[in-house]
Amino acid sequence: MKRYHRLAFALALAVVLCGAGAAVAQEADAPPRQRWSFWGPFGLYDQAQLQRGFKIYQEVCANCHSLNLLSFRNLADPGGPNFTEAQAASIAATFQVQDGPNDQGKMFKRPGKISDLFPPPFANEQAARAALGGKLPPDMSTLAKARSYEWGFPWFILDAFTMYQEAGPDYIHAILTGYTDAPAGFAIPPGGQYNKYFPGHAIGMPKPLSDGQVEYTDGTPTTVDQYARDVSAFLMWAAEPTLDARKRLGFQVIVFLIVFTGLLYFTKKRVWHAVLHEPELEKPRAPTGYQV
């Protein structure tokens, strides 16, 4: 019997490997994995980092990228950048928002309120393309969840056990720090830039960040790497604003389930004890009305 087991196992393994084998070589460099405060089951957002990331979004990204699904009030939400409501309101007031129609039937601009959505930098897709040489910058609301990287077999299985959910911010960080000189012989299409981590390497976005470009008031180094890290964290929050609440509730639920299931296990053992361990005591079992 043992022999059969081993044979079956070997064959099963061979079949699986037959599928997994011949793994194709990966063309672009894999984005290096970064350390994120929101890593793992207990990792939460670092609010100072989200505030810095927001600053970069506001001063750099927002010139071209919209953030359509977020409102200014979200900046004051628990588990977010943790601005006060007054701060969020004053940030809102720095934006001009289209409103209307008014009593005369005219659309008008007014300073943003805390309940407003982030206004887009361009009125519509065509306006964006016209201003940016035909390119359309993606909306950033879900960007950190809409970008990823294939690690291939078997790493994606490992990702479930290490609870790796940060492929998006890793990718964004890699793109922002991946502007290098093109290798000799690489033809960059007009209007494009070379990026080490971008699929196909020819990215439409010009290098957005350079050292010292955005001022930090808390002594954090003003390097491209740090900017990229902060804005990636901010975008992760923008895409997944309930992460903190989810992980906090998750811990309680898991603890409850483990205790509850443990109790069920002992109940089960108790109920089945007579059946398994005292087979001569056939009668005391529940009557079933079973007939041969």
């Binding site: 011949a22 990823s148 509730l249 361990h277 009305g289 079973y290």
Partner: protein
Amino acid sequence: MMSGESIYQPQSAFMKWLERRLPIASLVHSSFIAYPTPRNLNYWWTFGGILTFMLGVQIVTGIVLSMHYVPHVDFAFNSVEGIMRDVNYGWLLRYIHATGASFFFVAVYMHIARGMYYGSYKEPREVLWILGVILFLLMIITGFMGYVLPWGQMSFWAATVITNLFSAIPLVGSPIVTWLWGGFAVGGPTLNRFYSLHYLLPFVIVGVVGLHIWALHMVGQNNPTGVEPKSDKDIVAFTPYATVKDAFFVGVFCIVFALFVFYIPNYLLSPDNFIPANPEQTPTHIVPEWYYLPFYAILRGIPNKLLGVTALATSIIVLAFMPWLDTSRVRSASYRPLYRQFLFIFFATVIGLGYLGSQEPTGGYVIAARILTVYYFAFFFVILPLLGLFEKTRPLPNSISESVLQHGVPAGAPAPGVHA
């Protein structure tokens, strides 16, 4: 046969009054309390209960989600994001529902694998098995339509690819596809009808589950020996024995489920589906959800479209014919050494196909998929019929209780002699 006679005795005056008018209490009693189950069922038998539980979870979360979802091409994506952001605990409902679909399929694959291993499809359980295959088909359709609703890139393109399969049907293919779409491309009418059907089909599933359980209670459960219960010694009452065992394993299942919902909810979701649907931009790589991948690999491995679609349909429907394709008179793989080997290779084949379905259909991957597809069908159409004729099976125990006692009293317990 095994549907125990009702031994329910109403106690109170009201229950006596009700029993003469609507014997619902005795129905519940005979179905879920006194119902006899084999004493040797292992934990693989708990997936039926888990599936019922998951169906309930999906329906409850789905009904609440539908209160906030907007089935319109312009608003669907944002309404789902609105649920995630602005509805109280909307993120929880949505992650439970999306992850729940995956776990529903985990449970159904375990359930099917158990049926195949222990020969649960064999006489007299053919109708029970066929109802199960119908449920599996309904789940596939419901899950697919649900995946379209968030109207992300993968939703849209999966809908386009899958509905286009019908165009392979000769003559009427193209009109059928137009009819399915409600237009000349996947669009608003498609989304609306998928939403309507995604709400309807779960209740059809509930109905067929009712039939499935009814059929189960007519013929009784199979068990790891595949030998029918012969006496009172072979069985235990459903309550408390099966209920407490099921409840415990539902708990174990929920722990794993909760780990996914709370810690890696995006693990099973495609990043492309966080990009709103765009009919003008095809994603670089269209893949269905993981639970369809083996069938997708079969489809893509075959160069001819009509043959590919036929193979895809056959690969699922062939399950319904297992009771007649398998010619062996022994049910359980525990007593069928060769069947056991071939079955494990079959399981590995399905996993291998699943992996290949997730990869680009090029070069070695296509060849590997074709080899595995050949084994997939050979298992049903060649191995199953022939094995029954040539396989030398191991001797069956005379009864369930004998098999339990043969191995000594189960591990950890004193030998019977010590007791006596």
